[in-house]
Amino acid sequence: MADSRFVVAKGITKRFMPLRSLHEVVGRFLDRPSPVTALDDVSFSAERGCLIGLLGPNGAGKTTLLKVLATLLLPDQGRVHIAGRSPEDDPVFIKKNIGLVTCQERSFFWRLTGRENLTFFAALYGLDGPAARKRLDRLLDDFKVDDPDKRFDACSSGTRQKFSFIRGLLHDPPLLLLDEPFANLDAPTRRFLKDLLKKHLVAQQKKTVLLATHEIAEHAPLCDRFLCLKEGRLCLDATAESLRRTHRLDPAAGIQDLLINILESPGTTP
């Protein structure tokens, strides 16, 4: 029987050695710094067409986990499989299947226009010529970008974030990794992007979305399922329905407060 799980992460552990300056190396060369655990034995899987909230406070390991999935970071232990293949065996396949959207405006070339940036990244995803132009025009239209030919540094934060979404979608990947994608955006732009994400990308196009955020109260209603990270450990993996059932909540009730309580309480209950 075929495995329906599109993303599988098993036992992901990542520790970082603190970086030391020359002064620290010379001054305390006998002291070995202790590694900082960013992810501790994190396992989960995800099917196609669901929006998973990767929730946790700052420093919980959300970005680290997304970077492991995006092949930018190698885990110390554990394996990731996306559509049945691992980044170690076939990194190009994995990269073709993921779109990474961050709130890092600096990941674009500021002296180029939005369109020039996106055309460049489209070429790196293997798209060029009329097909690339058609795809780009379609996405610019979907995201309602008014002036894609304005220089990136002259664009508003909202437009820059739309460019980030469009870059992540250029090659139409089935898996979207979103790292705080709504940070620094005004309410109407947030609402527009959230609607587009939920109705268009997840419901219609059946993309799997992993949305990392610390703004639980605002983004929890968007998600079908929740992965909560606390100090690098997965402390919750549950759907909205199962949470409501377990905690006997009204079907219409919001579960934001419950998630916040779980993240703020001691102990882990995956």
């Binding site: 970071l73 993921i98 990474l100 890092q104 055309t119 460049f120 990244f121 790196l124």
Partner: protein, 267 residues
């Protein structure tokens, strides 16, 4: 190839968004050339002795050395500079998350700088020919092409090693220091290595630029054929054979280490 052209277009758009660098680059080449021209007028005859074999003036000698050194220096430094630039701009991770091979990314990053360096090289040659009336008529073109190929390959390998260091340690790059300072002093760029003490001449033999400059001077001013350049071309070929695969292996290891340490985007 399409990805390489995309990098080239992106770099062109980025560089042409600034008004003055290209103009002042050309102006800089002219100024440097003039400095050595007047040094030659003042002291040229005193250094003529070691140059007798080549049958060239000091200015003629240094012009070829400078043009070549600036070419390979600019070109090979470009890998390291570009990596640092992408790290500080914050675009390196965005490039690495695309399904583009590391080698393609690295080589594409350097292509714009190589084009600019080639333009500088042509300006040096044009100034020498038309303004200072240097005699290039004996130049052996096939020899020149082989020297160019071997030099670009071996210096690119050094550039990639330098970029690997930048990826891991960010600053304080010893490879870059060797390339820019030690090679300038020991490689025969500004003066023939015959004027150096014996122990420095010995060290010079471990640098590819020593062979490249000597071969170039012979090919340009004496019209020496490939057979006559065996003593210079064989060591250059050996540098290529050793350094090229080693540099790509080291760069791959450096990227893996940066991915393991989580320092890809740090600078």
């Amino acid at each position: 190839m399409k990805k390489l052209l995309a990098f080239l277009k992106k770099d062109f758009l980025q560089e042409s968004s600034y008004r003055w660098p290209l103009v002042f680059g050309i102006f800089g080449v002219l100024m440097t050339t003039l400095i050595y021209y007047f040094i030659d007028r003042l002291f040229g005859e005193r250094v003529a002795g070691p140059l007798e074999d080549l049958g060239v003036s000091y200015f003629g000698y240094v012009l070829v050395g400078l043009a070549f050194f600036s070419y390979v220096g600019f070109g090979l430094g470009s890998f390291s500079d570009q990596i640092q630039r992408e790290q500080t701009q914050g675009t390196l991770e965005a490039l690495l998350v695309t399904p583009t091979g590391l080698t393609v990314i690295l080589l594409s990053m350097g292509i714009w700088n190589f084009l600019i360096a080639t333009l500088d090289l042509l300006i040096y040659a044009g100034l020498g020919l038309f303004l200072f009336h240097i005699d290039f008529s004996r130049t052996n073109v096939p020899s020149l092409l082989v020297i160019w190929t071997l030099s670009v390959s071996s210096f690119s390998a050094l550039g990639i090693l330098s970029a690997s260091f930048t990826l891991i340690y960010k600053r304080g790059n010893p490879v870059s220091w060797v390339l820019s300072q030690a090679e300038g002093l020991l490689g025969g760029v500004y003066f023939p290595i015959a004027v150096l003490p014996a122990w420095l001449q010995f060290l010079a033999h471990f640098l590819p630029i020593t062979y490249a400059i000597r071969a170039l001077q012979k090919a340009v001013y004496q019209g020496t054929s490939l057979a006559g350049l065996k003593a210079e071309l064989l060591p250059l070929l050996a540098f290529c054979i050793i350094l090229l695969p080693a540099s790509f292996a080291v760069f791959n290891r450096a990227v893996q280490k940066a991915r393991r340490d989580g320092t890809l985007a740090q600078y």
